[in-house]
């Protein structure tokens, strides 16, 4: 009764898309309007934390290999830590802007987890290509939350941060378990379905 791995990617893509839209809305309206309702302040950190929590069942049920389990576990922890730090900052329990470094760490670990648990080369199949692409996108884009530590009120940085999640969502939605990429599909990948 377990969903295929590609569906897990699509469900996380939905979460990332929602996260991207929420993050994009904040710089458009400005911080003052965004904070007019208290629940909105907790929205994106809460979503990030929830996505971290949801990585645990992925770690527990999709144990293709030890490296998969370790990558998903590290990923879950780093996402939860990033979400928790942002929740603390939103609530006012944490005050120092350096706590935002955990968001940088969260995205960097996410990227490394994507790269580490993909053992096949780029053009093996679509899922392999996307794991490499997603990994490198997260690694490079982790510089954006790092820059936000020093410029937390920059609308340009926040918009760029939001668009990263929208881009990640698009990549995750295009993921298939066995499908060709640019006409390439390794004969050992299996038969593509639908």
């Amino acid at each position: 009764m377990q969903p295929p791995a590609e569906m897990v990617h699509w469900l996380f893509a939905t979460g990332f898309l929602l996260l991207g839209l929420v993050l994009l809305a904040e710089p458009i309206v400005g911080e003052e309007v965004w904070r007019m309702r208290r629940w909105r302040v907790y929205l994106w950190p809460g979503l990030a934390f929830a996505l971290g929590v949801l990585m645990w069942p992925v770690m527990a049920f999709y144990t293709n290999s030890a490296i998969h389990m370790l990558a998903h576990g590290a990923w879950a922890e780093s996402l939860m830590a990033a979400g928790a730090a942002e929740l603390g900052l939103a609530r006012g329990k944490l005050r120092h802007p350096a706590w935002r470094v955990l968001t940088f760490v969260g995205l960097l670990v996410s990227g490394l987890a994507f790269l580490v648990h993909e053992q096949n080369p780029w053009l093996f199949a679509r899922s392999a290509f996307l794991h490499h692409l997603l990994g490198w996108t997260c690694v490079v884009a982790s510089l954006i939350p790092l820059a936000r530590v020093f410029r937390p009120r920059s609308a340009a940085l926040q918009s760029a941060f939001a668009l990263v999640f929208v881009a990640l969502a698009v990549m995750l939605f295009t993921d298939r378990d066995v499908a060709p990429v640019f006409g390439h599909l390794s004969p050992v990948a299996g038969a593509p379905h639908r």
């Binding site: 699509w10 909105r40 939605f173």
Partner: protein, 93 residues
């Protein structure tokens, strides 16, 4: 007596309405993108032509997930946000 019939609209108000428009269009644009994807790749919507698929293949339809995310953002986040933005604009006038 003021003979000027058309009063100039302050630039700030124009910018704010553009902001409201931008926020309120994010949700519908996402929904539209989901429907466009469903039209471009109808085979990704398994419900349209079920052929003995298991539960998950009928429950998880990627283009519909995009529509769902857009709707959730539109109804839960964007609408109250635009209301707050307009309330703040009205208070500032």
């Amino acid at each position: 007596m003021d003979s000027q019939l058309a009063t100039p609209i302050p630039a700030v108000r124009e910018r704010r309405s553009a902001r409201a428009l931008a926020v309120s269009s994010l949700g519908p644009l996402t929904v539209l993108a989901g429907f466009a994807w469903a039209f471009a790749q109808p085979y990704r919507v398994t419900l349209l032509h079920p052929r003995g698929e298991s539960f998950w293949w009928l429950a998880i339809e990627p283009p519909l997930l995009v529509v769902l995310a857009g709707l959730a953002f539109w109804l839960v986040v964007a609408r109250p946000l635009v209301a707050d933005l307009e309330e703040r604009d009205a208070a500032a006038r």
